[in-house]
């Protein structure tokens, strides 16, 4: 039960709020009107009662002897205002009834009236009673001091409230009906509003439901979407686009792997079949085996690289940072590749900001820089130059590998870090590359909380920039602070 309460829908909550507030407004409004009405009845009755009492008191005080006038005043009321049931009685000083309205009921004896009040004071006592015959009256009394009499006369006036009470009761009943009907209407309208307001969300969720890994084509129709939901819809569409892109790359990747494996395996089979097809000299066998071994080496490298990339994508992948003297590391790399560069007629140099140290995974750093240098040498013609530069910038290590090669056409740049992407397929494959070098470089930068970027100018060479953060957490802080994704 509580589970259901916790999981209630937005539509449910919205309609509950709409209904609740509409009902509350209605209740307050009708309640107020009822209160005003009841109060004005109440005032009017008391005023009338006071007025009547005052008239009789004045009459008795000023002309106590005029029996006819008093009687008329007492009796005549119902004649003048038949709708208002006002009953009066005058008690003589000895307590006996001097005169009273005819029809003064038995169940309103003098004793039920309140003590006489001073009509000039603020505090005039009234008393509401319900008689045995189920009629309601408001009672008031006052003394009229008559000169020469043994004591004061007492004036007792009652006004009947029975009909007004019935009227108010009827009014209250109607209010309840209005309130209940209002509540039902508020719930229904609230529900309609909520459902209507949430319809764009339902449309989005419908699109989501249709989305499959095999079908990433559906898009949320943004036309006629309210602005608040439009952002969600367009974010969702963006996500679909990115997913579609990733899926396309993944399936491309799988078919690329199959292709990359097929070539060396095909070579292996072909060479083996050929070698076994007839008797050969030991030298020929040795030659074939050597060639097979080379193919296997290529396969091993490919498998290693694929495993590396797969591992690098796992969030649990740990790197082992140590403080590296960047100048020394770059010099090591330079020393390793220098003869290869010299053989290609390319000048290789390393320039690191002096005294630069940075916490990095040594093997990974070497691998990244080595890969780039190797690429640089491969794509730079004779008399060219490959420069490795390193400096620190805003707490980050920036490593640039620049070559003076032929450059890479702009259209290839965005995809160069993709696995197996080759700007010039024939050339790269001949060199025995796996097509994973730059993908590995990028994943190494990512593992260090950094980035890899590439710029190229036709005919003037290519520059790859690697940024390394001193810790992944640092980089995360920076990117949230800077609002980068």
């Amino acid at each position: 039960m509580w589970r259901g309460a916790r999981k209630r829908s937005i539509a449910w909550q919205l309609s509950a709020w709409y209904a609740g507030s509409a009902f509350l407004l209605l209740a307050v409004g009708t309640g107020f009107l009822y209160f005003v009405l009841a109060r004005s009845f109440d005032r009017e009755n008391t005023d009338y009662l006071t007025e009547k009492t005052r008239t009789l008191e004045t009459l008795l005080r000023e002309s106590p002897g005029e029996e006819a006038t008093v009687r008329w005043e007492v009796e005549g009321e119902s004649v003048a205002h038949p709708s208002i049931r006002v009953l009066s009685r005058v008690l003589a000083p000895n307590g006996s009834i001097r005169v009273q309205t005819s029809g003064m009921p038995e169940d309103l004896p003098p004793s039920v009236f309140p003590e006489p009040s001073n009509l000039n004071s603020e505090d005039i006592q009234t008393k509401d009673v319900e008689t045995r015959s189920r009629r309601t009256y408001r009672l008031m009394a006052a003394n009229a001091v008559t000169p020469g009499a043994a004591g004061p006369y007492t004036v007792q006036v009652a006004i009947e409230l029975t009909f007004e009470k019935a009227l108010l009761a009827g009014y209250r009943r109607q209010l309840w009906i209005v309130l209940v009907a209002g509540l039902v209407a508020a719930i229904w309208i609230g529900r309609r509003i909520a459902v209507r307001g949430l319809r764009p969300l339902r449309e989005i969720s419908q699109t989501v439901r249709q989305t499959r890994s095999t079908n990433l084509a559906p898009r949320v129709a943004l036309k006629n979407m309210p602005s608040e939901v439009e952002e969600l819809g367009s974010t969702f569409n963006d996500m679909l686009a990115r997913l579609g892109d990733s899926f396309a790359r993944l399936s491309q990747f799988s078919s690329d792997i199959a292709h990359e494996l097929r070539t060396p395996v095909n070579n292996l089979r072909g060479e083996i079949d050929l070698a076994l097809s007839r008797q050969r000299t030991p030298e020929e066998y040795a030659d074939v085996l050597g060639s097979l071994s080379e193919e296997c080496e290529h396969l091993t490298r490919l498998i290693d690289s694929l495993l590396f990339l797969a591992r690098a994508e796992q969030p649990a992948m740990q790197i082992h940072r140590e403080d590296l003297d960047i100048g020394r590391e770059l010099e090591l790399v330079r020393e390793f590749y220098e003869p290869a560069a010299a053989e290609e007629g390319v000048k290789l140099s390393a320039h690191a900001q002096s005294g630069l140290t940075f916490p990095l995974d040594r093997t990974l750093f070497q691998r990244a820089v080595g890969n780039l240098v190797q690429n640089g040498i491969a794509h730079t013609p004779r008399e060219g130059e490959v420069r490795i530069e390193a400096h620190s910038k805003e707490g980050h290590l920036v490593v640039l590998v620049k070559d003076t090669g032929s450059g890479i056409p702009q259209e290839h740049l965005p995809r160069l870090f993709d696995r197996f992407y080759r700007a010039d397929p024939a050339r790269a494959r001949n060199r025995g590359g796996t097509g994973l070098g730059l993908a590995i470089v990028q994943s190494i930068a990512h593992l260090h909380g950094g980035e890899a970027a590439i710029t190229s100018h036709d005919g003037r060479g290519t520059t790859v920039t690697l940024t390394f953060a001193s810790s992944v957490a640092n980089e995360r802080d920076r990117s949230t602070a800077g609002g980068r994704g």
Binding site: S293, D304, S305, Q318, F336, A340
Partner: protein
């Protein structure tokens, strides 16, 4: 030298045994973890080549059992998994070295030699192969009475080959041992280094010492 090979895959086991025998080792073969422990307890081995993924009792457990019973026989682990954590785990469990499949046989051989040499015997100060003399302390190489002008790295490369005379060293091992490049770089770069070394060590002389073993690597071996 007596080795124990623990490997369940018959083809791998067979070529390891043949290869090691051809390289002058006496090798026994265990096909699972329990058998391996039985062998290790009854005979004394100089080194154990231990596959990690074994039926019934895996390599970690065998290694733990050996070390718990104070058996300090050097162990080289073989595994198809190559997560860095596995490497750390293996070395912490008392393995002396670690190789991931697929590996080149020459590399296993090189590592076996390294591990065995790590034992007490000190590297000699001088190595003499035919008319090549290496003074490891002074970093000097002389051939046929003539001093060879080598860079420090070239000397390191030559002495690595000389210390493993007769054994083939893979390009990966060479890159790792001489330049500290612990990754599988484009090993053609090593070829260039060897070519340079050859031009100084072999080119001026009639007898060639440095040999290329195609598809495997390089070795320093006088002609028979």
């Amino acid at each position: 030298m007596r080795l124990l090979i623990v490997e369940d895959e018959p083809k791998t086991a067979a070529y390891l045994k043949r290869g090691l025998s051809e390289n002058g080792f006496v090798a026994d073969l265990a096909h699972d973890g329990d058998q391996a422990i039985g062998f290790a307890e009854t005979s004394k081995y100089d080194l154990i080549v231990l596959d990690i993924m074994l039926p019934r009792r895996d390599g970690w457990s065998v290694l733990a059992h050996l070390r718990a019973s104070r058996d300090q026989t050097p162990v080289i682990c073989l595994t198809a998994r190559d997560a860095v954590d596995d490497r750390v785990k293996g070395l912490r469990a008392g393995a002396d070295d670690y190789l991931t499949k697929p590996f080149a046989f020459s590399e296993l051989l090189a590592r076996i030699h390294t591990v065995l040499r790590r034992a007490p015997q000190r590297a000699p100060e001088c190595i003499r192969i035919v008319d090549l003399e290496l003074d490891l302390a002074k970093q000097r190489a002389v051939r046929g009475g003539r001093r060879l002008e080598l860079t420090p790295k070239e000397f390191l490369l030559l002495s690595l080959l000389a210390r493993n005379v007769g054994n083939v060293l893979s390009r990966t091992v060479i890159a790792e041992q001489v330049w500290g490049m612990n990754f599988d770089c484009d090993t053609n770069v090593v070829d260039v280094h060897v070519r340079r070394l050859r031009s100084k060590v072999d080119d001026p002389f009639a007898q060639k010492l440095i040999r290329t073993v195609r598809g495997v690597g390089y070795s320093l071996k006088p002609e028979e």
